[in-house]
Amino acid sequence: MSNSAGTPGEITRRQMLRRIGLTALVAGPGAGLLSACATGGSPAATSSAAPSAAAATSAANPFGVAAGAPLEVVIFKGGLGDSYATEVHEPLYKKAFPKAEIKHVATQQIAQTLQPRFAGGDVPDMIANSGTDLMDNAALQQEGQLLELTELWDAPSIDDPSKKVRDMVAPGTVESGLITGKPYVMNYVFSAYGLWYDAALFEKEGWAPPKTMEEFKTLCEAIKAKGITPFAFAGKNASYYAYWMILISAAKIEGNQLLLDIDNLVDGAWTRDSVKQSAAAWAEIGKYMDKSFEGLIHTEVQTRQNQGKVALYPSGSWLENEQKSQTPEGFKYALTPTPSVTAADKLPFEAIRAAAGEGYIVPAKAKNPKGGLAYLRIMLSKEGARGFTEKSGNITVVTGAADGLELSPGNASLSAAQTAAGQNIVTYNSFEGWYKELETELRKQTNALMFGRISADEFCEKMQKAADKTKADSSITKQNRTV
């Protein structure tokens, strides 16, 4: 052995490696860094609403927006695109306030873009808080970051100054944006939820959408015999489509009080018979799925429906628009309500979940919050809403704004379903936004139930346990709703 104590180069290489190793050791658990430089200094208190404070209110300008105050609008550029903002609402705002400069920001990552700005106190004036990476509205409200929208809902409508804005929108719209009993979120898009199918295919095969779960099973057999997967959802990122169905069915059995009780974390709400019956019925339908759907994402499964490989798909009314580029000629989207589970269901088969979705918020500490309110009021005008429907293909909460527009097959079916449902509306779940941990658990357990790893009873018990945990967690602010 050549005992030459190592050449200098040799030592350097080893020591280098070791040093890099130690550096990595210090830099390795980088996750601890995620909240970097977060609570450093208090944000500059100077940036609050000073510049736009003073301007007289008038019939045309009920909030007293300062004419020259610039407006910054942040739009979630997802399924709805952002041309409805750049080509409809922003020009309308510019028309109302010609001296105002509008800054338009489009992003797919609302939270990543805005969370640091909220922490730093430099916030925009209006935010389309949507998408997978939306910010937690309840948390924002709790920190005093959201502007209360009562002033907006009570303002005179642009189309008919004798009426308030709140009277121009679909019932339940204002209520859907309540946090701790006050309106903070303007939900704009009118959505209905149910099972989507290709009306052309069903007509060709002589299938009718099922009215009861028994019929649903019989239909599933018939569809399966044709080599088509009867029912599907995507477990990898869209199991909430399936839990919506479970909760809608449960609400049809017991009535909307169930959804209120679930939201209000009432003891034992998840273990009630209605939830058990619904979960058991849907688990039966789950058996007709292909196991592999658990590892696929929503667009992959949706595209299979467009290819005629999947018959019924649970989703909301944005589906048609989302799949536009994939939908083949002759494919006709149609919506059917969730089938009745028992003969004694409180709500009829025709009952449908309809809700206002896609939240828009005005930050309380914006530089031009009045401008943000005025922008929302413009969105809620007939002209603004109509333009939105034209650009995005979605119907808004503004009643009658889409009248006379030529509707797509899906939207036409949606409006027919709404007419059939009448007053029989299944309401929404607020816990999805209020208690994210509960929602995450529900996603997990829904996959486990629908792909046959747990029984309906286990599903209910696990969810009740998660709800109890949320209820007992002092660090989560509890919400309540009565409507």
Binding site: L17, L25, P29, T39, S239, E437, N447
Partner: protein, 303 residues
């Protein structure tokens, strides 16, 4: 000349040290503080709540599932990676016998070296997307379509709770092997060739050469590799995020701490609790690294 030495060194060190303190050390210190608060990530005035976040960790089912997974990762990923990398680098460098007094690798070893290193060059997100296609659970997946050719039913690589974590570990090993092949190759080429010559003269075969000569003389390098891979086993965030069912599923079967930290902070708006998890992870990593360096310490062979 000599009196100018220190300002010269300080001049060089100043900028990196400042950067390191600002972007690495200070966030760490902040994370320790945030872990003791109920900060929600939005306002600038978190409340101090003592050790509540840490006591909460004790009965957090998901946290312990993640810790268990790190235990499995810690055993499997370094062992498998080091074993495979050692085998390959031995084949590449030393197994071809002697040529002109120089140990050589197999025929075409330069080509293989490039092939092995390739995954290391790919960003981990790209590797994730690649393996989405490879592991796709239906018959359109790369592996499953091959299996279908021999009449095997599609395997749910990432959707079977018992299989998912192993599938992800497979990706981690696949990606890491190339780098350690290069690292061990460097180590092997620094072993003096007279050692091999002497052993070969004494009639040692490839097997003996590997276990009696190469392995002991590579010990330092392997120790470093072990620490590196261990730290990688405490991460796995990106692959789990991209590949697993609903980020950590099915049924928590693949979740890891960095993922839960991310989810707790950015989905649940519990930055305080997430920081507590981060602090726990920090101590686990430190403990692991210190233990590894201590336990594997051996008498160094000088040559």
């Amino acid at each position: 000349m000599r009196h100018g030495k220190y300002p010269f060194i300080v001049g060089f060190l100043f900028a990196p040290v400042v950067l390191y303190v600002v972007f690495v050390i200070s966030p760490y210190i902040q994370a320790f503080y945030i872990a003791l608060t109920n900060w929600k990530g939005i306002s600038a005035n978190p409340q101090f709540i003592g050790l509540e976040n840490f006591t909460r960790l004790f009965d957090d089912e998901v946290f312990w599932a993640a810790v268990r997974h790190h235990g499995v990762l810690l055993l499997v990923v370094p062992l498998a990676t080091i074993a495979i990398a050692l085998f390959f680098s031995f084949l590449l460098n030393l197994s071809g016998g002697q040529k002109g007094g120089q140990m050589t690798g197999l025929l075409g070893s330069k080509f293989y070296r490039v092939v092995f290193f390739l995954p290391q060059v790919l960003a981990v997100a790209i590797v994730g997307v690649l393996f989405q296609a490879i592991y796709r659970p239906d018959e359109t997946g790369v592996i499953n379509s091959l299996l279908a050719k021999v009449g095997v039913e599609p395997v749910g690589w990432l959707i079977e709770p018992d299989l998912a974590l192993w599938a992800i570990m497979g990706v981690m090993v696949w990606q890491a092997v190339g780098f350690y092949v290069v690292l061990f190759s460097a180590g092997m080429s620094s072993i003096p060739r007279d050692v091999f010559e002497a052993a070969a003269l004494d009639g040692a075969g490839r097997f003996t050469l590997f276990f009696k000569i190469t392995l002991p003389l590579l010990w330092d390098t392997m120790q470093v590799a072990w620490v590196y891979l261990g730290i990688a086993a405490f991460d796995a965030f990106a692959l789990v995020q991209v590949l697993s069912v609903d980020r950590g599923g099915p049924d928590n079967a693949t979740t890891v701490l960095p993922l839960e930290i991310w989810r707790t902070a950015f989905n649940f708006s519990k930055f305080g609790y997430a920081s507590a998890m981060g602090v726990a992870l920090f101590f686990m990593t430190i403990t692991f690294a210190a233990l590894t360096l201590r336990v594997t310490r051996r008498e160094r062979i000088e040559f």
